[in-house]
Symmetry: C2
Subunit: 323 residues, 2 copies
């Protein structure tokens, strides 16, 4: 292997991939001190930053292609949660060493997801150190129409954009603790490695949903964020939780409930919406389920079919939390 400078490395694997395109709002991409973005005055720019660290957010040894896909999907999901159109992203990549094969696969995975999301690489930085990625994603949304976490109102229905828990269900397979293979396992692995941000659903929620976010920390924990930001109480009715066929085939009922409520990494949208909008939304997005309602009060609780409180104690993954 020949010596490779930081600049050659960036150019070789990323600059060629997806750079500034006419009509994308991106006037200048890689290769200068800054990228330049233009935006009509009728729109706002949505911005979000996420870090993924080896051993914390993904296995220390993993396929470059899968990691590239997942890193962008996870980050871009915040744009979907705001109802924003994806635009572009910056990548800060920290690598312990230059493995050309791995890097090429990573760039290809990133590029595949960028194409699926219609995003371009705006800039980046490459440094040496323990494997870690920080992506900053950019999207655009019409002035005043972004979906916040803070607008939920008593009387709203609580909804999710699909069956939660699949990414959590993938973990034993990702980590090699379970060895089965097959279509159901593939479904779970796909949810974990290449979750597709719900951009179209997010866009459809503009002007309808009162509050929205994407589920990264687990349904309960993320509903807790809406409850806190909106100063309301969210009631999840456990029998209304959609059940993933893949989870049903591979896990027992108690595990499925626990995964659906507390496992993270699904990157589906959760939102609250007045009842009058739900039929139209489900018409267009059949995967949307009503799972509860917003009431006066604080926090999140889970009710069984008889209205008894069965809220589990644990509420999602927290970095730095000490049990």
């Amino acid at each position: 292997m020949t010596a490779m400078t930081e600049f050659e490395l960036i150019r070789r694997y990323f600059a060629a991939a997806r750079c500034a395109r006419p009509g994308s709002g991106v006037a200048l991409g890689l290769g200068d001190d800054c990228a330049l973005l233009s935006l009509p005055a009728s729109e706002q720019l949505a911005v979000s930053t996420d870090t993924l660290t080896a051993g914390v957010h993904f296995p220390g040894v993993c396929d470059g292609f899968l990691l590239g896909q997942r890193a962008l999907a996870v980050s871009a999901s915040d744009l979907a949660a705001m109802g924003a159109e994806p635009l572009g992203f910056t990548l800060a990549l920290t690598l312990p060493e230059v493995k050309l094969d791995w890097l090429e696969q990573f760039a290809q995975g990133l590029d595949r997801m960028a194409e699926a999301c219609n995003m371009v690489l705006l800039g980046g930085d490459t440094t040496r150190g323990p494997l870690s990625l920080t992506l900053t994603v950019f999207g655009r949304v019409p002035q005043g129409q972004a979906l916040m976490r803070s607008g939920a109102r008593p009387g709203d229905l609580l909804c999710v954009g699909g069956a939660t828990g699949e990414a959590g269900g993938a973990l034993p397979f990702v980590l090699g603790e379970r060895q089965e293979r097959g279509a159901y396992v593939d479904t779970l692995l796909a949810r974990y490695w290449s979750p597709m941000p719900q951009f179209m659903l997010g866009r459809a929620l503009r002007g309808k949903a009162h509050a929205a976010l994407d589920i990264s920390d687990g349904l309960l924990a993320d509903c807790g964020h809406i409850a806190a930001a909106s100063n309301v109480r969210l009631v999840i009715e456990s029998e209304r939780l959609p059940v993933s066929p893949a989870l049903a085939a591979l896990f027992g009922p108690a595990q499925i409930r626990s995964l659906a409520l507390s496992a993270g990494d699904d990157y589906l949208l959760a939102f609250t919406v007045p009842e009058r909008h739900i039929a139209e939304l489900q018409d267009e997005f059949p995967q949307v389920s009503v799972i509860g309602r917003v009431v006066n009060g604080q926090g999140v609780c889970v009710h069984d079919a008889l209205g008894r409180d069965i809220t589990p104690v644990q509420t999602g993954y927290q970095h730095f939390a000490k049990p």
Copy 2:
């Protein structure tokens, strides 16, 4: 120490610091899935991402306040290099453990520099892992007026915004290899730990400079970037290089020349400008020095007073470069 969740940590140290302010263009700051920025149609958004890793970009053990200051200054300097007005930033912070004192000092250092730069914290992420920071900075610049690296033309003068090499001269003191103290050492340490981005100079260069960047990799290496992007040759006349009084007091002539040409981290602007603008620029910015000129050709060279080529072989710090 009590348990602290990621969310409490972010809120406690950063949310209170400098959040969205009216008139700043920032409509929504921390606490939702994305921050929202507004921008008049007459302006473009400038965006840049930088990672600083412990042991590579700063000493593994260091003062939190100094690191907070430096991290933002280093990142924001890319905005100055584009002639952009600073607006805000996102911070992705990876920490091996939660040390409350250190974190509080870090937040204060960051806040001090944010105030000096007139920037607000737009969002962030906190993860566990080896100490590392990724900042994405945002600025605004009138449509079409951003300073690129690619516009240098034969006949331009090559200029710098001050005496280079001071940050490199600080390193032996930062690393404890030299023990002297005093005003000159303090000057070098200040250049290293709190370089002030040259925003006003960058703004003044709009419509005047043909090419500009900030010197992070060393004068020679960064002039090489202008030469490559503009497809011209840059000639540095060594006797015109401004000499830092602090370096002159603490280093020998050969070391000073080497630091001025090859040491990084100064974050001064380098730019090329037609001769007709130089008097007016130096009138307003007396620290600006003409150090050479742009000619036909490629690459960068250093000439002595007799016009002999004395270009050193080494051209700046490169991550991953193998000697």
